[in-house]
Symmetry: D2
Subunit: 399 residues, 4 copies
């Protein structure tokens, strides 16, 4: 039985939870084999923002949208921010792109040619300029850099080049701006990836300074990796800056968060709840003293995009709610006494709870329909944009 106090506290935290959706998740995407176009897909950054605002309108907890440069480059970022505010949301993190120019065939910030590194660095600096214009706090860096063949380049030289570029970009940050460095096990490079694991990202962040933190993308690990261990470890060192949520069965599948292994998502959230780092407050010991960002970073290659984003948000909410219901006193007591099955049972009791009524109550308290997916489906939004967004070029990755 969930205690009334715990339930009330859960509602309080869930009310403060903030999930940031990615502009590129509203555009077309696909695999190397095919990008399937979908009806109603946005053609402009503004239309992506409209979709993001729709997700917020039905969920109440997604008031931020991340931009990707150059896909979302506009003349006037202040005007774009204004457009977002008019729709009820804010612009969030700026994501850099150093992988879609022919110059980047062999890398960007790690490229053997200094001219290419310069070009990539300038792009990163431009992103900080954009952050100044939009008021964004987070510069999120994921590098596609790596090699495909043994011997292709010097692993170690590439690390040195990376460190040098990062230092220049870090020095450009002002105020409470953060540099968030993402790691990824493989893809698109397949032999080496220049930031393949949390350790590499962590070591670079240490070298940079307190405003550098690690981004954990839940799809970027080797098979069998215990992700919640990494969460706990980065929290312990104060260097967990952000999540990129999504789910996967095999590679970086970029499925909806919580779709592949909801128990894993719950365990991740449990680590955050233990560290009181879920909702809008900085985790104890954070090197930046700023809250962790909860980004979604996923593609919807075959399913409708706004509906998939809504489902992802509610999946995260469900995992969070279950984690908030864990009877932590009972858990700690069982752990301390070496009661393996008792401790597992406490966790599983919370996980087995059907939290949909609790979340329905949360939404009604926010003036929303208790079932965002159903309400969205009934709203006619998809049909409307499918009719309206005809002509022009649909947004996509531009691969």
């Amino acid at each position: 039985m969930t205690s009334p106090d715990r339930r009330a506290r859960a509602l309080e935290v869930l009310r403060e939870q903030r999930i940031e959706t990615p502009s590129w998740g509203y555009g077309n995407s696909g695999t190397r084999f095919k990008v399937f176009a979908q009806p109603g897909v946005p053609r402009t950054p503004e239309e992506k923002i409209d979709d993001a605002a729709t997700v917020h309108r039905f969920t109440g907890v997604a008031p931020l949208v991340s931009l990707h440069i150059p896909w979302d480059r506009v003349e006037d970022f202040a005007a774009l921010a204004e457009h977002a505010r008019a729709q009820g949301i804010e612009l969030g993190a700026i994501n850099a792109n150093t992988f879609q120019d022919d110059d980047y065939r062999l890398g960007s910030v790690c490229h053997p040619d200094p001219a290419v590194r310069r070009k990539a660095t300038d792009h990163l600096l431009e992103c900080v300029d954009i952050m100044d214009a939009t008021g964004s706090r987070d510069l999120k860096l994921w590098f596609a850099d790596g090699t495909n063949y043994p011997g292709q380049d010097s692993i170690r030289d590439r690390q040195d080049r990376l460190a040098e570029v990062l230092a220049e970009v870090y020095a450009r940050l002002t105020g409470d701006q953060r540099l968030l460095l993402e790691y990824k096990f493989f893809e698109p490079a397949v032999y080496t990836t220049d930031v393949p694991d949390w350790g590499t990202s962590f070591a670079h962040c240490l070298a940079l300074g307190p405003q550098a933190q690690v981004v954990l993308d839940t799809g970027h690990h080797a098979p069998g990796t215990n992700i919640e261990f990494i969460v706990a470890t980065l929290l312990r060192h104060g260097r967990l800056g952000a999540f990129d949520f999504n789910s996967r069965f095999y590679a970086d599948d970029d499925l909806m968060a919580g779709a592949a292994d909801p128990f894993q998502l719950f365990r991740i959230m449990h680590e955050l709840v233990q560290a009181e780092a879920v909702a809008g407050v900085p985790a104890t010991g954070s090197s930046t003293g700023q809250p962790i960002s909860f980004f979604l970073d996923q593609c919807h290659n075959i399913e409708p995009k706004v509906a998939a984003m809504i489902r992802s948000v509610t999946n995260i909410q469900e995992a969070t709610a279950k984690a908030l219901l864990v009877d932590t006193d009972a858990l700690t007591a069982a752990q301390r006494s070496g009661d393996v099955l008792g401790a597992y049972a406490v966790l599983k009791d919370a996980y087995d709870t059907d939290v949909r009524p609790l979340l329905g109550e949360l939404r009604e308290g926010l003036g929303l329909h208790p079932d965002p997916s159903a309400a969205y489906a009934a709203s006619g939004y998809f049909e409307q944009v499918s009719r309206d967004r005809v002509g022009g070029e649909q947004a996509g990755w531009g691969a």
Copy 2:
């Protein structure tokens, strides 16, 4: 020390080895993140054939080129075959494509909608028509079909649909035409793949009849899979129809054959040599009584394509040569007596041998330069086609 007899026999077999290169390996390719264009890339099926003929001219063992429909669709396939012959090579297998039409978003031959299945089936039947025109023996089928989310479709119904389509296509074959069914662990679908493993392909082939055999793509397995075991097992059941050679570190990386794990390629070749199934003769017990096809199926996303294909051919030759040098009598004696280290040593002795002199001799016997990569680099072919192939649209996957 390699015995002179074994060396002579190796040369004999290597002289008969036939490797078939893929037309699409000469075009641009990439990842979902970016396709980098390269200079000198062919713009037409004829130019792809010219590149394939170049690989054969320098290696002497690549006299066949596989086509991919619709990427290589032409008005007059007989004329295309004639063009190939004029360049010194032949057209090989026909590869079907049922993954690049918007109708195939949820699958092709396994799609829930019978109309889509009909469309896909008609494409497969068209491919047999083309085989009739080109004189190709092999219909190679790889299906991108699968699902991304649990529940998305009925796993079992999809198998039934697949079986029905395959039966219709199989019935259309004539003479010694073969249906070769490829399996793949994941990608582009990520939750289920409709032919994910050799067992599924094998079971369908059994149901179809003797002219149906399995294609083993060396990049299409789960991590840790022992591929040579599958080779041995399929040979034992007479159902190994073809290889798609390439190499990989993590997923279906489509690197040059032998690049990632040359010892594994050697072990695969060892199984073939044991079964006397390397060069142009049918493996004992083959359901078709036809030789195994040695296809290359790889991409060259960042490296020059013709040079990469030549290197792949020579990598396969090296693995084959080493396998032919295994002292099989000593190996069998060690195995039978339970001498674990002795048996391993026999295999490793062959593997440790530098077979480049032997292959140089082979090539000189064929009137070729002993080092195909060096000879190609010196030939000026790349520079020539880079100058000539300007304008038009470079060949690619069209994703």
Copy 3:
């Protein structure tokens, strides 16, 4: 909302569900690093049966216990069966052991030495004798056979030897006895395993005859393998004979069923429910026309064993109950219409349901406490056997 009809039907099926626990799961077990002894562990086959009966007494759905020979060898198996019946349960499958004799260092049924194969075969035949004595229907065969080094033995010869032994054993079966052939990806052999995947087991079963079927152990697959696909495929071919349930994070961890990925267990159960093969009735098209056996096969290296077994049984029940609540009409409609998110939502709705009240009702209907774990903990059984079972030698794997 779950319809009352579906709920009633679920209760009906759950009442008929039968889970068979393994005698060796009550003994000590461990890793190659250490076997930790636990209090109260049985010292005799009879005491293991007492523990199995205890699991049944609290769950009501575990009326069978599997034996492992020689660990459970007794003088008088009829008397052992009588002991079981007196405790309220029955003897189930006979599990053979051909891996713990020094003769089996290089294999048993696949060993290069015919004398070792003879010894192993005789053990298997003895197991059928025991089946005759106990009335067991299932001969469950898992072979530790394989090799550790490339070249160590001929992969193909080993398959031939395996086929020959299996044929002799199959010929010995009488009546409705079944030969159930288990596969395992790796361990204890690490280079090759002689029955590494479902395809290999399936091919051997086909060669043997209709009374041979495949055992799917949920911990015996490569990382990323879609197990429910294999379930669906084996059902389609009528060759799914049994499950060995357990769970795993990385290798064959043998954790409690449902502990590592409860969503996966639910998806497996969903395939069985779709095929109406959950409870005591044969799956349509089964080659034997007999129901699938639901074995547990797990170790409890650090947790108390009877309590862990009870939890495993209830975890399986929960997954089954959720699968029975799937709104199959809505699911099929969504699948047929290509509604990816709708179909996923139907599955997830069932999974999100808290089925503990339903299972409580089931148990009360059987005259049991609604919470078996709590009732067992309160029963004092563990404390009692911990006091009683002192002296003698605790049961274990004897490694």
Copy 4:
């Protein structure tokens, strides 16, 4: 063609290479399923040392043997060191064991109970005492600590406990003694491992001080992990203290070094050669300013142990020799100019070279037979110890 200078330099480095063999590699070992006893296995630490000395006598590059406490605990370690010297070798690293006492069921240095942590810490301190007695430089710490079930213990608390114990042990070191912290992906714990990856070990070493470095065991990574990347990264940070060499196909298989993927071992050696860190000299920037230790850590479950150790040593030598033959000028030139295939070709040319003649020359220069495996086989040592070592208890892991 290998340049004479490069060949001469390779010989020079190979002459200085030092490989340290593990005492436990001479004893019986196995899997959780079975430990197969072998003839001639040592019964005492002295006999293990005799075997290690035999490996050195035939290879010339294995003059050190690692001890494992308590398996090698003796009354008088100075006398043991004297015994070793009399055989021509030295005692090397001290390996602690905190996993084979019943108290360690839920961990040792991370155990929730402070009394268990105290016991484990005292054992570690005793190991430093032994180091003082033997003159060993390296304290090698691998912890079996971890959890099997979600919730079983607090991931983060366990890190804090670990840090506290390590700090106490580190403070006990004197002179140039090093604390070497090993990481391992999984096993024996399967849900979490308390030091699962290089990042965790690295972060603890940073916190401890310069005399703490990371141990990289080549078998302790997730599938698909690029190990040479980790080597390069740890070298860059000065924290690569030692290797545990062995090889694996799937898990921590502990096969002979180089047996499973010789190309990978070559690539690892290439990173060391690039950093001039192969033979007896400290890598530039090492936090300790001491050379990297090259440990073997493997089991020989089915193969004879001394012969397997000799083969492992020569496998490492072959990989090292090939790495030393890489034309680094050509490699760097190709890398800098973005010549992907050219750079790969340089590496592969070295790898394809048959270095057995070079190593034969090296050994003859040391007054040894050019083929250590053949010379050992001919020596009669195995037959002699098989006759002599009868009675008593064979050494083993004591699991």
